[in-house]
Symmetry: D3
Subunit: 316 residues, 6 copies
């Protein structure tokens, strides 16, 4: 069904890309009180939050920088010709306002916002925020345990940090499994690498049936083969896609808090998304973009390029 | 008259300052087709344009970076307690869309936009753009020759560049005098310094009666004395205020294309605005902020701090 | 009493300043379990923490960058010839380990650490951390209400943020007054400026008797006069000195989260410390240095230069 | 024929590479009025110009930064042992002086300069400048329609921008085909990618017979195979080589105005040039290096490394 | 044999990685006068020195930045599960104090320090410093001619610079062969590329039997094959490993003085180390990290990631 | 006497300032073998050298960055109307080629070059290089002991470093006094500040009669008064002017190796030069500009602005 022209982004042929108030991909800014809200199919949402960060902070600044970079995105996919903004009503739904000094309050606010989206049948494409963001989002979306395709250099499956702290950006999916938001047998984590504290996270993954694809396996088998397995694991049921920008090699994506060298390049970073076509995606996020460590803005531009790819995958 | 609450900016106590789609000073985004447009008293407008730049480019990126930095501006003036957003209906009117490859076309677009504002009794506070921006704005505002208080390190009064090119950021006020948009006897230029090509611009100023205050005179006499003279020169008739960020020392405002060392510091940069109270300001601009040369964003933050001061002066 | 040679810093004449494991001012690293701990007179402590930050994060990285920059500090004060490291046993006591995902836990850890110092008669010179750091430090030091000389562009006297959050870097001294850690009549805040949310903080200051010196008053009266008043206000009783780097103009100290333009320059930043001589200083801190916003390291170098001045003032 | 020793560059063994007035590859600076001008075989020319840029500006600063970086280039090719400066008389011919505020005037100046080169049998190796630079150069060189091997992420084949503007960096080769400067059947564009406005440019390419190799095809087939096709397409007739630095992945070449992620790495960036040997190259350019977006200078160094490879290809 | 717990690094689960005085990999700081010195098996040593640099300086700042970045390294190798700090007593031995204005004095100081290590059976893992560092280290370690596996883009085999200067970072291995510190027939250099002054260095290599693997050969054959040859060349006798960070492509490792484009990526940079297992490594170095050209710290982080890999290889 | 038009710089009205091969102030490049060499009155010379640097390196890159920035300098002095390039034949004499790995060899090369200038009655205006540069220059110029006006934050009068090293950037004027190149009673050092190793340098100054003006005295008395004393001290005999960029506050001049906070601003940095008029200047230098620590180029632009002021003072 063709989209409503209200939802078409501004073209760079009409207004230069450096001009205008920057919304995600130059889409209209449609907050929940907006008259067009109910018509939205895909909502691009910012979650400017990093209270779960144990290392270098900054993802709270992610959504704004991603919006700025996103004005470089045009209307049509170069490889397959898709024009996603003509396929569905896409809009920038603004940011969820977090409480930077209270983790529990912030998580409650995020879950509440996404419940509103779910109630309006709006599928979210989220720009984080650190990876703890995924947990309150999943709490809103997972009416039953979801599958998940997870791109990352870390498993984010740890039990706790600093002597018992349960909610950090290293623990969201441990919590999500415990809270029955994810079906671990339908979860695959791709790109895992970097020095390890210990193997507690991997032991947990093995115990509950989460599939981990290390970076060595990823490079050895190739994208097509790994992603075929991913599609098989999640099957045709509801699936969430979580993309931590530190999946990508930090040379290509320096603006992140916990980089691990030796990752995929930017072409591979896009290619994995093109292998998501056919997955039943109920929501997706791109997290851990940290502008203070991204002086040139390159990470944000790669980030929104990935978001565009995920958007196309959600509509394929 | 108290302003309409629709026009109140979002508070940092409610939504953290790093969150949200960035408009000027977190004001509502009200384009000419918006239902509230006719109620606007002061319109903050971006002119993302630098085709008149003869030296280092970049002011086309100014409005967006200024919007970003402006989310750090709060509601109340620290010195005098003014709360400008409660005094008048202020709004972000968006950007004028320029044609970066055609100077004449861009000037026509800018003039047309500001004519709309004038027709709606909206006083503009402009974020440039290079200094040529002032010319098409003046064409819309000057139904009769205006006075002008002009802060700058350059006179921008040259006849032409590169063998006869008449429209550059070094010529706008020469043109404005020739086109009868400015009354040269009611024009004062403050802060002039830097090495000179020759004295052609100053000879013109002297010939038509424009008052030039060099930086040496500025420092020797002090702000209060110089600004008293400025107020006397423009009198109580309609006056335009043009503030080139390169008036400020480039250490405080590095993000500009043609810096000249040895200028005012940031405290002085604000103080001059506080001496504008009482001037009959029909419009004001802050120009030549060039983000590519402002890696830290400091220039943009100083720029919007100056814009806030000018806004208060427009409402005092 | 001359200091123990164990506590003399390494000279740049012997080991180049870029060499060696960086401790504060090249002093020995003496943790509480170290044999020399009991001999320490002045302890330089890092509190790498920014969970109270409502705006741009980063002070968690402050202590390390301050240590790095501090290897540029030499042995003797240029103006008065003091050689502080020969006057008292100074040492780098390391960092207090915070819990970046739990504010209350972190505050408890900080207070416990400083209680150990107090129990050993070690006066602390702290490198923050955001300004909430001062609260748990004061809880350890204030056996009775202290006086305070506070350099800052903000009062940090707000009641709460985001609908009731009591512990942020904008509230520490409101809490400290409420908890009877500070005697408000012996508190002076110097350098206050910047746009304001509202006047709630200033109203509180007035109600309890805290003296606020705005930046305009500071510049108008001059350093000597303002600091004479400061010394008179705190008298000869126990006094804390809290120095927020955003007291200094952000051009001189860009690496901070909530800059306000129009502040003192670096010469003035040092001069105020030289007017602390004679004050009975029980502890001092330098907070809000944020390395992610300090690409060149200039803020850290100014910060440690201020720490050296405060150290001399503690020993004068 | 061995080159004249006058044209040998200064060695880094004699004068350190950071020393000396920087000319391209440390060659002699030979302007048209220089006594040795007529002896020049290959002229390295700067065109510091970006008036055709619709997006982020800066290539006007390209030639100077490329000269600076080029002092890192030595005398001999590592792979094949070529010593180009001993094979032909190479010189830095200086910059063409553009008029940054007048596109037509600038194009006329550029064409005139290159006509002088052509009249003196000097083959040009150009350092841009944005991609519109290629058009006035081709006007001077193309006495008959030329073939072209074009490395880029964009086709630069658009009809017009912003409602009819015909001369931008997105249109040069559309104009060149229309003006009969290029034989479209002997043109190949390699590396095309990125989101698209629409397919108007590709439709034109198809209509006139220009061969487009997308990045997916490029990676799938490999450099040797694609370049063999390129050599076959241009044949042994006169051919121009145009190398837009945004052909390379922006992580390797961040200093450009319109980056597209997912491109070749720096090894591949050089390898494509090594497959040009045997092509009858009448001129070559390296365009779109934008120093304001290249803080580290890495793009410029890669750019001159590519220029060295193209120089060797012109002499092979 | 399990290591002594004294030598276990601080965990990021206990103390956040941004906290604490930064030693290499958060190991204890054990200088030669320390009580535990004699127990050390592997000593991590900084040599903050760049007096041999003929081009862009900066490696004197390398050790400190590498220490800072190294706090991101955790305890366990992700691929093979090794926990090196539990296998051997590893410690940060501090920096050798150089004399930045006297090359001969500095070399004497370095050799003396490493003789102490050798006398205590401590195997060194060095963080340079420029590549001349390897020469005085080899003078201490080579009681008989050593084999060497050398990763670099340059051979560093030149005879002399600037008319007869024998000690620069371009000559260490020429000297080492002349001084009989290396057995040239057991030396392999991998990754050689970049424009060349001439072939004098390669001619020397061929004459004495040093094996050079150019980058083209490296990419064509693949890591496993090249490294198998390397292991065969050095055999099971004592071998030194020298890793110049400019072996890696400068996009991945920009912080170095003499970059050459077209090198390995960060995954390959690690993989070559994983093929060192089985080599009899008597010492290793990572040199030429230059922080002034590494604004983001990415090079240092890659550098310490390589050091971790080499450490594991020394203990495999 | 009016200058020869050959020596007139290129105007920014003819060739944009970003264009052209960058020579100092766009003057002709006249090396000693050039036909016009004998006509030169004032020679601008680069000494790209930093082997005397004990701290952060980089001044070897100074001359090139200063040349680049100097294309922003125009023809006429704004305050007094002087047009120096029309008053004397000024030229860029290129760089002295140093030997970066041999201090004595470099000093010999520098002295030899300046002896050639002296033999040709060319007065040098030098762009360093670190401050050791002044010593070999003085050896060439001082046929009898010279007076010196020295702007700096350090005295550079130390005896030796690192256990007896006599030639560093902290010792040149100790050596110059010992070698009878300077008459200490005609030497004044202005701006001295920063923490001190000890008072050995100041004791020497006092012993031989060198006048030291600390920064406190400088600010207290004001520029006019201090400079009147400076002129009186040097009298009308031959005088050298040495300007270390670290005289200026590091916020205004960050690109230097040994910054000291609390110095003059950029206006004051220029004003001191304007008080040199009437001094009999036989040569001048601007040293310690270190581009690797000057990401924005601001220090270089201030540096060349100071060089322009010194040039005018040499011709006044």
């Amino acid at each position: 069904m063709p989209s409503d022209s209200f939802f078409h982004p501004v073209s760079g042929f009409d207004l230069p890309r450096f001009a205008g108030v920057p919304t995600f991909m130059r889409l209209p800014h449609v907050t929940p009180d907006h008259a067009q809200f109910a018509k939205v199919d895909i909502g691009l949402v910012g979650v400017p939050w990093d209270s779960g960060t144990t290392n270098r902070p900054g993802p709270r600044h992610g959504p704004r920088q991603l919006r700025d970079a996103s004005t470089m995105i045009r209307a049509q996919h170069a490889t397959n010709g898709m024009r996603p903004f003509e396929t569905a009503n896409c809009a920038d739904l603004g940011d969820v306002g977090p409480n930077p000094a209270d983790i529990q309050d912030s998580m409650a606010r995020i879950t509440a916002f996404y419940q509103t989206l779910k109630a309006n049948n709006i599928r979210p494409l989220t720009a984080g925020g650190d990876h703890l963001t995924s947990l309150p989002v999943l709490r809103a979306l997972a009416t039953q345990p979801l599958g998940m395709i997870h791109f990352d250099s870390h498993t984010d499956l740890f039990h706790s940090y600093f002597g018992g702290t349960m909610y950090t950006h290293g623990t969201p999916f441990r919590r999500a499994v415990e809270e029955n938001l994810l079906d671990p047998k339908r979860v695959i984590q791709i790109g895992i690498r970097g020095t390890m504290y210990d193997s507690e996270d991997r032991d947990f993954a093995e115990a509950v049936g989460i599939r981990i694809v290390t970076i060595e396996e990823f490079f050895a088998r190739g994208i097509k083969d790994v992603m075929a397995e991913a599609r098989e694991i999640v099957g045709d049921q509801d699936t969430y896609v979580s993309y931590d920008i530190d999946f990508v090699d930090p040379t290509f994506a320096p603006g992140t808090g916990t980089p691990e060298v030796g990752g995929p390049n930017s072409f591979q970073a896009l290619q994995v998304c093109r292998e998501l076509y056919g997955v039943n995606i109920v929501g997706a996020d791109l997290v851990e973009v940290s502008p203070p460590f991204d002086a040139s803005g390159a990470t944000a531009f790669l980030g929104v390029s990935i978001m565009f790819e995920m958007l196309c995958a959600m509509l394929a």
